[in-house]
């Protein structure tokens, strides 16, 4: 027991060291590092989603709302007040948390598909607002992050490496939060709700408060990642950061493909889905329009048919197959 914990810790440390060192192997202004950055970012996003969906089985399809709030808040504060995106990120996190609280009020009683669809509608509400309130957001034409001399304080860098470490740090932080929640009383309560909400209520779990707490944490972290995205991409519009397909569904898809409810699932999922999308685009998009997306869709269906609970479940299935037992 002690030895296996030690080994696991050592393994994680090595993995992290490799992750930190990876950019030195990549062309600092190249394509590969950019794809890896996005994979890290989306892994972190899927991990945020995992907090509510994985632990409490509240499948949200509206997380783009928080992501977009984060992206717009820090960028608007930067444009109008020259505020450092680091501070903007904090303000965005607060607003993202408030938004998560507000949407939790009407939706916390909802279950399953109803919850998914209500959150989907909430994401769309935010997109329509961002699109229509041009005075604040610039409307459908989108906004650009103003150019600043590269510096850590302004979260702008000339090369891609610092972004990589930023994204990696974000992923580590979000994953630690996820693991901490899972191990805490909050995690215990969330699991109780997941198993049976009514029974949880009976044994004295304040389900309302538990759900809202998890939703607010998830919303705040997602908003922070929105800021990172804005600083990395430099330009975005409402359809991009509040998009159903581009953000909400993709976050969920990554976590599901990897293994919902597990800490490693979103990371595996992101490092499968994001490079796969790029690879499919790379190979097929010049041959016939739509082929790359088609291939991507077919692969997604294939993964779900082979193992509906994602790669993590597939992994333990294989381990069992080879008689190594694996954890139950």
């Amino acid at each position: 027991m002690n030895r296996s914990t030690l080994l696991r810790g050592l393994g994680l440390a090595v993995l992290l060291a490799v992750a930190v060192a990876t950019p030195f192997l990549l062309d600092p202004r190249g394509y590969a590092i950019r794809v890896v950055c996005l994979a890290l970012l989306f892994a972190a996003m899927a991990q945020c989603w995992n907090i509510v969906a994985g632990l409490a089985n509240q499948v949200s399809l509206g997380h783009a709302a928080f992501f977009g709030i984060g992206a717009y808040t820090s960028t608007l504060l930067l444009i109008h007040f020259g505020l450092s995106p680091w501070l903007g990120m904090l303000v965005g996190a607060v607003l993202g948390g408030i938004a998560a609280f507000l949407i939790s009020l009407p939706t916390m009683r909802l279950k399953g598909h109803y919850f998914a669809l209500a959150t989907l509608a909430f994401g769309e509400v935010m997109r329509v607002i961002a699109n229509s309130w041009s005075g604040l957001t610039g409307g459908p034409v989108g906004i650009s992050v103003p150019f600043a001399p590269p510096s850590f304080a302004m979260m702008q860098f000339k090369e891609t490496r610092p972004y990589y470490w930023l994204m990696l740090a974000a992923l580590v932080v979000v994953t630690l939060v996820f693991v901490a929640i899972r191990r805490s009383k909050l995690g215990y309560r969330l699991r109780a709700i997941k198993e049976n909400a009514d029974a949880a209520e009976v044994i004295g779990v304040d389900t309302t408060r538990t759900k809202i707490t998890a939703a607010v944490i998830s919303g705040m972290l997602t908003a922070c990642l929105g800021t990172l995205y804005a600083q990395f991409q430099f330009f975005f519009d409402p359809d991009t950061v509040f998009g159903v397909a581009s953000i909400s569904v993709r976050m969920a898809m990554i976590a599901i493909v990897g293994g919902i409810g597990t800490a490693a699932g979103p990371i595996l999922g992101a490092f499968f889905v994001i490079p796969l999308e790029e690879f499919a685009n790379d190979l097929f998009s010049s041959r016939a329009a739509g082929l790359s997306q088609l291939v991507f869709g077919v692969l997604l269906i294939g993964v779900i048919l082979i193992e509906p609970r994602g790669f993590m479940a597939l992994g333990s299935r294989i381990r069992r197959l080879f008689g190594k037992g694996g954890r139950p």
């Binding site: 998914a116 669809l117 909430f122 769309e124 739509g290 869709g297 269906i301």
Partner: protein, 286 residues
């Protein structure tokens, strides 16, 4: 008068919303699957009707049964090959299987039919009936009439035929239905095929006033969800109420708010209804 006109327009458009959404609610009712790809079958129905018009000179309203038939068969095959295998899988796997189907269908259509927006031209497309100061658009009226007809046909089928009754039995109590000798697998296939077929039928009847392209589904997907959730997922009568409600809300909100905010109003109503009646307007009545 503007209000009356808005209600009239909303009613007609709502009838269409009802028919295209019935399929979604039917599939959920019988097998508990929310099909995110449902709107893609609307797109396929529109394409069938378009090519029936372009190659055979058939009016889309007459081609609607053809669209129903073609997509019915496709739906049966999809149920057999894909959906059947995730019926017992976790909810999220079901959702994302249909998301995968959405991506595949949209892009397969792009490969097969090209990216252009296609439109039929029919003689009644630009005509309207005038009732005093009120205008009734003929293509809207035709689509509405066809929707009512197909809705009634479905109603009769569900009530009067053995298949319909068996399907309802499967939806209400799968175990009991099985004990009665109903093959639930076949019922699922029938329900799914019927569901996507009806949506395709709806696609064909709206073609005279819309255009079809591989991405047309995206314009309807959230709308269809709103309709079925307002009415209560799984309830066919609910889809009719939801469809009419959505049509009228959309139409009336355009009088008071900028049209840009049309969907905003709709979604807020949607969230509010869910908050107050988590199972939809007619939820629990099924």
């Amino acid at each position: 008068m503007a209000v009356l006109q808005a209600i009239l327009d909303g009613l007609m458009i709502g009838g269409v919303y009802a028919v295209i959404s019935i399929g979604l609610t039917l599939v959920f009712g019988v097998m508990g699957i929310v099909n995110f790809a449902q709107a893609e079958f609307l797109m396929l129905g529109m394409f069938v009707a378009y090519y029936a018009w372009a190659w055979l000179g058939l009016d889309p309203l007459l081609a609607a049964p053809l669209a129903f038939g073609v997509v019915f068969l496709l739906g049966a095959a999809i149920q057999r090959v894909l959906i059947r295998r995730v019926l017992k899988a976790p909810e999220v796997a079901q959702i994302f299987l249909t998301v995968g189907m959405l991506i595949v269908l949209e892009n397969a259509a792009l490969l097969m039919f090209g990216s252009g927006f296609k439109s039929v031209s029919t003689p009644y497309q630009t005509s309207s009936l005038q009732l005093g100061p009120l205008f009734i658009s003929v293509p809207y009226l035709a689509a509405f009439a066809m929707s009512v007809a197909s809705g009634l046909a479905l109603f009769l089928f569900m009530r009067a035929s053995w298949f319909g009754r068996a399907m309802r039995a499967t939806a209400q109590d799968p175990m009991a239905a099985k004990l009665m000798g109903i093959d639930s697998d076949r019922m699922h296939m029938l329900a799914f095929a019927l569901g996507v077929g009806l949506t395709a039928f709806g696609g064909a009847v709206i073609l005279p006033y819309l255009t079809v392209s591989p991405t047309v589904g995206a314009q309807f997907v959230v709308l269809m969800f709103t309709v079925v959730v307002l009415g209560g997922l799984g309830s066919v009568a609910g889809a009719v109420v939801g469809g009419l409600a959505v049509g009228i809300i959309q139409s009336l909100s355009a009088l008071a708010f900028p049209i840009q905010l049309q969907n905003l109003v709709l979604f807020l109503v949607f969230i509010a209804v869910l908050a107050l009646r988590p199972k939809g307007l007619l939820g629990g009545a099924r």
